[in-house]
């Protein structure tokens, strides 16, 4: 049996965002402060009620203690600065839940802030070293995530016959969702023709297969289930989470690139929570690229391995489909706040606050983060 001692011990009680733009014109510190104050305020709290901070970044953001200083948090009882990728969109919230449920702190703010378009861009990294494992890949012009994930997508297309139109169905559906999201950086609908005629980035990926880099921040506030009862919103409880990798955690030596981290993490998550994909009402699935999302849908069990293409093309992932996915437009259309915006949207959906794109009666949500060799999943619910 799997242990899940954190089950329902904590809840998300506040969410907040800045405006999502392509050029914020302000510092990352300013974005972080604004999003955190919005989330703390949403909970009906002030920074004086906060005693924990967790953030993740890729050397492009503001540390937890700097932000605590700026916001006037009187005492910090837990803080963690994580260096890493989108996998930490879940692990950062999980860490806050662990910190609160262990008693390390009482109320923890989790944030991600970046000038991801006007400042440090993920899709335009500069080679920093030619040593270590970089020396095996950079000399061949293989350097950035849109290349790695295109490489993974190709294996699925070759083995299962997954098509460009099926990947396009994800991009088109998420843009449709974004038309109902006033925050989204892209709100103009796209058609399948738009998708298919858009320029190549790395075949098999068109530009619409790739996330949109933005300047933005978002934050969530995690506190104990007991305290959550007394706050202003319906508590969104953290049912359980899982994160990790398996086999050979190498982008090139991974045993079977038609599967991702989620093959392992998905099994662990369902074992810990006693749930399955069938229990999920709405899923916000990490979509750095269209294919990343599709492969995770298979691995978490929303459809069988190899059937992701027909599944997404069938309309199953639409707002009115059997499992609405990336209801805010996702990272593809709302914007790449490195995945933490998936948790904000899930909380919004479970509170019933999602306006025109609200999934009716949503009580249980899956949020995933990361893709390829590493990542995590977390289940939120109301009861």
């Amino acid at each position: 049996m799997s242990r899940n001692p954190i089950e329902d011990k904590t809840a998300v009680v506040g969410i907040g965002w800045t405006e999502i733009t392509r050029r914020s014109g302000v510092s990352v510190l300013s974005l972080a402060a604004e999003a955190c104050l919005a989330a703390i305020g949403d909970a009906g709290l002030t920074p004086k009620d906060v005693d924990g901070l967790v953030e993740y970044q890729a050397n492009d953001s503001v540390g937890a203690l700097e932000l605590a200083d700026v916001l006037g948090v009187p005492a910090v009882n837990w803080y963690t600065d994580i260096r890493g990728g989108g996998d930490h969109a879940v692990s950062s919230v999980a860490l806050a839940a662990m910190a609160v449920s262990s008693g390390a702190c009482d109320t923890c703010v989790v944030y991600r802030a970046l000038n991801g378009r006007s400042g440090h861009r993920f899709g335009a990294a500069k080679p920093s070293t030619m040593g270590g494992r970089d020396q095996w890949v950079l000399p061949y012009g293989y350097m950035v995530p849109p290349q790695w994930f295109a490489m993974w997508a190709r294996t699925h297309m070759a083995r299962y016959g997954t098509t460009h139109e099926q990947l396009g169905a994800i991009a088109v559906n998420q843009r449709r969702n974004a038309t109902m999201n006033p925050r989204a950086v892209f709100q103009k609908p796209i058609s399948m023709e738009d998708y298919l005629s858009s320029r190549w980035i790395n075949e098999p990926f068109h530009i619409y297969d790739c996330t949109v880099e933005v300047d933005a921040a978002c934050a969530v506030v995690v506190t104990s289930a007991e305290r959550a009862q007394a706050l202003r919103h319906k508590p969104v409880y953290i049912k359980g989470f899982a994160m990790g990798s398996f086999g050979r955690p190498s982008w090139e030596q991974w045993a079977d690139m038609t599967e991702m981290y989620s093959k392992h993490v998905g099994e662990m998550l369902w074992r810990r929570t006693g749930l399955t994909a069938k229990d999920i009402d709405v899923a916000e699935v990490y979509d750095c690229f269209t294919y990343s999302m599709m492969c995770q849908l298979e691995d978490y069990g929303f459809c069988a391995k190899g059937e992701g293409g027909p599944f997404v093309a069938s309309g199953a992932i639409a707002l009115e489909g059997e499992i609405p996915v990336n209801t805010h437009g996702g990272l593809l259309s709302e914007g790449y706040i490195h995945g933490l915006n998936h948790s904000c949207e899930a909380v919004s959906q479970l509170r019933g606050d999602a306006g025109q794109r609200q999934v009716r009666g949503a009580q249980t949500a899956l949020v995933t983060s990361g893709a390829g060799i590493l990542g995590g999943g977390i289940v939120y619910h109301t009861k």
Binding site: G123, A124, A125, K126, P127, T129, M130, G131, G132, R133, D134, Q135, W136, V137, L138, P139, Y140, G141, Y142, M143, V144, P146, Q147, A150, M151, W152, R154, T155, A158, R199, W200, I201, N202, E203, P204, F205, R248, S250, E252, Q253, A255, M257
Partner: protein, 140 residues
């Protein structure tokens, strides 16, 4: 071509990779193999992940392999590749061990002719006097 005109990233060999890069200059592919169990260890490491032996040696590879996956890069971000788009980056799986893969470029054919599963053979490309890169082409 001299290092001053070759603008692309060049490897910085270290104690784990020096034998590989020196091998390429001789036209040989030299990877690490466990002397205990025969497992090929890539990326190079001082411990065999299969049997935990630390007795690691060199092994010369046949160079025969197949394309496990590939992409065609149109949007160039790696310095020095600007004039070569679209270019093919592939993962070539070597015949000696399942899952033993190298990142490489496929040369000698148009990007549209590359296929997953295509048999390939090595091309030793001396890009500078000091550095030879390992590329592949469709097997003859």
């Amino acid at each position: 071509m001299t290092a001053t005109t070759y603008r692309r990233p060049l490897p910085e060999p270290d104690v784990e990779t020096r034998d590989f890069w020196e091998g390429l200059r001789r036209g040989e592919i030299v990877l690490k193999r466990c002397n205990g169990c025969g497992y090929y260890i890539h990326y190079p490491a001082p411990v065999c992940r299969n049997c935990l032996s630390t007795d690691i040696g060199n092994a010369r590879m046949s160079g025969r392999g197949t394309v496990y996956s590939f992409i065609v890069t149109h949007h160039v971000v790696t310095p020095g590749f600007e004039d070569d788009a679209p270019y093919v980056v592939a993962l070539v799986e070597l015949e000696e061990q399942a899952g033993l893969r190298l990142v490489t470029n496929i040369v000698g054919c148009s990007p549209g002719d590359v296929r997953v599963g295509m048999p390939v053979e090595p091309v030793f490309d001396a890009v500078t006097p000091e550095v030879t890169l390992l590329k592949f082409r469709q097997a003859s």
